[in-house]
Symmetry: C2
Subunit: 662 residues, 2 copies
């Protein structure tokens, strides 16, 4: 059987779908996860985990309080620590991420920043001596670290950070200090209760000169007692939309002393006498942020996929209403409206993941280049990942919510678990740089590119910017996906130029640079979005073209068709020079046929991601499709049903009703 998820005893409605799949889901998994080898490793790891019963949730996660969620994650981490080496190759980051996700889900845990920000910050920003001192301890998990940058009153604007690290040559110490309430570090993951160390970003001050944001390695809690050290105020910031299994924290310093060599000094330095050496590239301190952003397309793609696994499987099991056969209700997946809700998101998820591969590779390359002293790729990647992060998080949020709504009422229950996935994913619109700010950072790069073209320096354009210098040509819309790329190129070029022109005109009319920029800002964000969506489409098509397996390629081309039709319809108003009202109508018709074409492969396309039931935590998305019985079992097990009559009914409602009867 081509679909490897089929098992005896499954809901026949789901097996029927899986039998229709025209390609081998293991082969697709190899495409999705970059190699057959890693796809196999993923399955092996999942299989090994399933043989360790203590790694399973001790009860449904949605029934737990925050304290219970945190405790459950800590318990699992402690079990994991016994099995680490037998489960994964600990030097392989992708294997580690897969393991974390399978065992701990998406909600965060004590080590979530340790792996993704703390260690990478040490790797990128600590010098060799410092790495010698801390990196091994961190990797062995003798200490737990996080990354503390954002403050209560200050987010994306790093220049405004208030926390100071003032250097005193006399004692060769920094004094870390939180001068106001708004200067409290606020939000860092795992800061509140778990971490005993942090990389803290503070404004470096030497002899009254402010050198701006720099990273410092700071011990927060006693290694024996775990109590906060004197001079340190630390705690949890309270419940959030999601990630409630994580202890995002606050942190304040009261004249906290730090030895000189605790400033991370790979790129900038402070000598004993207070002499300051600046980093070779202004943005080099951002590298751990760029790393996280370069992963976001992949991560968000997988969030979207999780929601789609649930929604597509459930849509093959849920029956409602009638089409031709009046003897039995139809699968809701047969409705065009349902396909239109779900399939374009499947296409986007694949596209995001393919983009994610590319940006992760670009980051790895950048890290090598920077080590070799070449920082020239920094601005490119910073711009690309800023835009990508914004577009991908926004579209993922939309897609997940549509997936949830496609599950009707039960989508709203925590039994679907989609709302938790949504909460986690949509956080990405805000963390690691708020989306509007990120779009405007890309816009800065786009405006500069146009200025290069205008001044005859097109040759200096960064990668992916050449289309901005190309002339507008005729497009034959019947020539396939490439024509749609051209439409997108036109739309992006037109908007990038238009926004740049507006910005320039406002300056010429006398507005200051900042005011003119602000008055062009919405147009600039539109330009950034179009540019990024063009990149996503091109990457998707390029990747699919490179595939050799015939049956895999065929279904991916179907997916590309859904994507390009959907995307072009969505941005139609920006490309009216090339698409008329009638053409838009005909693209809509093509979209509906492409949904039809995709229908038989829908379940196999999401099964191919091989996301385990353990990770999904969803009653609706179960691999076996036995939704209803398990929904009832889940509800019966929930805390409120442990007694027939709630204490509050006896205490308040019954006396009230009794009194009313008098």
């Amino acid at each position: 059987m081509l679909n490897k998820s089929i098992m005896d005893g499954d809901n026949p409605d789901l097996t029927e779908e899986r039998m229709k799949g025209a390609f081998d889901t293991d082969k697709m998994a190899a495409v999705i996860y970059g190699s057959e080898k890693f796809a196999i490793r993923r399955r092996e790891i999942t299989e090994s985990i399933s043989r360790i019963p203590q790694l399973a949730d001790s009860k449904p996660f949605s029934f737990m309080t925050r304290e219970e969620k945190i405790s459950e994650s800590c318990r699992k981490l402690s079990v994991l620590s016994e099995h680490w080496n037998q489960l994964i190759d600990t030097n392989n980051e992708e294997e580690a991420l897969h393991l974390y996700r399978e065992v701990l889900g998406l909600e965060g845990h004590a080590f979530s920043l340790h792996e993704t920000m703390f260690i990478p910050s040490l790797v990128a920003q600590a010098n060799d001596e410092q790495q010698e001192k801390w990196l091994g301890r961190a990797k062995r998990r003798e200490i737990i670290g996080c990354y503390a940058q954002t403050e209560m009153g200050h987010g994306t604007n790093l220049r405004a950070l208030e926390t100071t690290a003032t250097y005193y040559p006399s004692t060769q110490e920094f004094i870390l200090h939180t001068p106001t309430e708004t200067a409290l570090k606020w939000w860092p993951g795992a800061l509140g209760k778990s971490s005993n160390y942090a990389v803290v970003v503070a404004d470096l001050v030497i002899r009254d000169t402010h050198y701006g944001a720099h990273p410092f390695m700071v011990q927060l809690r006693d290694e024996k007692t775990h109590n906060p050290l004197p001079g340190i105020t630390v705690g949890d910031i309270g419940p959030k939309m999601a990630f409630n299994g994580a202890d995002n924290g606050f942190l304040g310093f009261n004249q906290y002393k730090l030895p000189r060599d605790h400033m991370l000094m790979r790129h900038s330095r402070v000598e004993e006498n207070g002499t300051y050496t600046k980093p070779p590239h202004a943005k080099i301190g951002y590298s751990s942020m760029v790393k996280v952003r370069s992963r976001m397309a992949m991560d968000q793609g997988l969030f979207m996929v999780s929601a789609l696994v649930i929604a597509v499987r459930y849509s093959a099991v849920r029956r409602q209403g009638f089409l031709d056969d009046k003897s039995r209700e139809v699968k809701v997946l047969d409705y065009q409206t349902q396909q239109h809700r779900l399939f374009p998101s499947i296409a986007r998820a694949y596209a995001f993941i393919f983009c994610g591969f590319e940006t992760i590779q670009l980051y790895d390359q950048l890290l090598i280049d920077v080590k070799n002293g070449d920082t020239s790729g920094m601005s490119d990647l910073h711009a690309l990942t800023s835009g990508l992060k914004s577009v991908v998080t926004h579209q993922t949020g939309e897609g997940i919510e549509q997936a949830r709504m496609a599950c009707g009422g039960h989508g709203y229950s925590m039994a679907s678990y989609i709302s938790e996935i949504y909460g986690v994913a949509i956080g990405g619109c805000t963390y690691e740089g708020e989306n509007m700010v990120m779009l405007l950072q890309l816009a800065r790069y786009l405006v500069k590119s146009v200025e290069l073209v205008k001044t005859g320096k097109s040759k200096e354009l960064g990668p992916m910017m050449n289309y901005l210098a190309e002339p507008d040509t005729q497009i034959d819309l019947t020539s396939g996906p490439e024509a749609y790329v051209k439409v997108f190129q036109h739309a992006a070029r037109r908007q990038v130029w238009k926004a740049t022109d507006k910005f320039h005109q406002l300056m010429e009319s006398g507005q200051s640079r900042d005011i003119a920029w602000n008055n062009s800002a919405v147009e600039l964000t539109r330009a950034s979005r179009l540019h990024t969506r063009l990149y996503i489409m091109e990457t998707f098509i390029r990747r699919v073209s490179s595939i050799s397996d015939v049956s895999i390629k065929k279904v991916l081309i179907d997916l590309v068709n859904v994507h390009v039709n959907y995307e072009v319809l969505d941005i139609g108003t920006y490309a009216l020079e090339h698409v008329s009202s009638t053409q838009l109508d005909s693209i809509r018709s093509q979209l509906y046929s492409s949904l039809d074409t995709l229908r038989p492969n829908a379940v196999s396309l999401i099964d191919s991601f091989q996301i385990s039931d353990m990770q999904l935590r969803s009653v609706l998305g179960r691999r076996d499709g036995h939704v209803y019985t398990n929904l009832f079992e889940w509800a019966k097990a929930s805390p409120l049903n442990q007694t027939h009559v709630l204490p509050s009914v006896n205490q308040y409602l019954k006396p009230m009703m009794d009194k009313a009867k008098l």
Copy 2:
């Protein structure tokens, strides 16, 4: 001072905004809430509530478990029961709703279905005798009731409900029965733990003939012990995306006996001998659903406003980045991107509320007409509210999420409370008829309307449908909002006709009615949305035109301008016969100036809703603007900070770190 929210000691950033407001917020409240009298009553009620300290939250709601939330609501209901008559005119539904919302918030409570579905069902569907028996008891709250229709396996398709009510003339009883797991009633609010009675919708069966869904009054729990009665399985369905203060429930019957006179018999009847009389109108049983839907534009408008109150106030207090003045960061409300995120939603919220007034009045009129035997308005209102519900819930969800993201990181904290508002509001996309299904119900009505025009029966068109028969004419886009209405009329007309034509052509090509309908479904939903958005825009403009107060009218016209520009840009691709690429560019420029114009009145526009801090439950949205200090206080009070070292750290993390050191 024109803005009545100003008080001594407020955050000066907020006071500065309020001083800029060019209109009297009390006067605007009178416009928003329909009359000066009711606007005053609202304030009086809020004021009276504030003098009863037991009605305040005993701790921040977000820190509570589900059990605590439910208990807290029950406690408050019991306090309320002592004060009912002194707080409100109990015959005034709007006063009661205001009271509930102020005291209990949005998260649901034991009486939420009692007031909105249970009593209205008795009013609309019980005959005089039955009302005599139950209505008084319900109104005095001797009993708590809910409305149980949806089943685990069956939502919007009422014909598929599996729960049976079989009549036996021999005993003059119905037997209520749940034949399968999927037939369990699932989702009804307040069913799980609070209610002891329910109006249950079941398939009426007499001598093997199925008469479809009918309402029955059923006792669920013993009035003395509150234990479920024999033959009844009832419980809570578990945690949800939001509304976790409500006990949505499941309900099963095992051959449960019910006397004949417990079927609600105002419209259909079953005689002692089993003779059945059908209702005068097929949809008459839906009237309580239509009632809820007719309220939804108002309710959702208020949800959106709550989020906007928070986001707009916070945006006036939060400072980030620099414009011209480099000495102090600017209010984020000064950014064009922020205005573009928030102001169109303010306009929509006003528009929704004005539409809500109209549909509530239409429902009240319908109820009178139906009592007098005239059911002719039923289909119209059903179609209108179906479309309106879908569009309004979708756009409200979008608006609330944008408001949340406009608050940056802190928007994601439960301290903002916006994610709870979102969860509550977005439920509206699914409850009371899933949005896609609702859009298709309106589409049915639209297609019928086109068929009337095609067959020369334009005179029979329902209200608001005449534009479908009108010819396309030249539009002068410079002539103000009315021109935009014409653009919208064109777009809606074009799409309604196009979708209808597609549907007809597919049938002519040999597809069955149901298949052709499904293959046109996405186009049909687009038609319904455009039609509904036209209605919203027309209602908004009509209402604003009718206002006489000059300063109020002026700012509302500014709001209309934001609205029409934003809306037309959004649907541009459907009206390309009337708006060119260049014109769309110029509408965008107009939109940006209209945002600018609105800027000084933004805070006053949301203050005018006079939503209390108690109801908002938001640290970010506080009237006084003192966000940061209270955010820190809130966090410090949260459960995880009651100890420095969590038990789970001692139990799991510390031993793990210690072991790693060996």
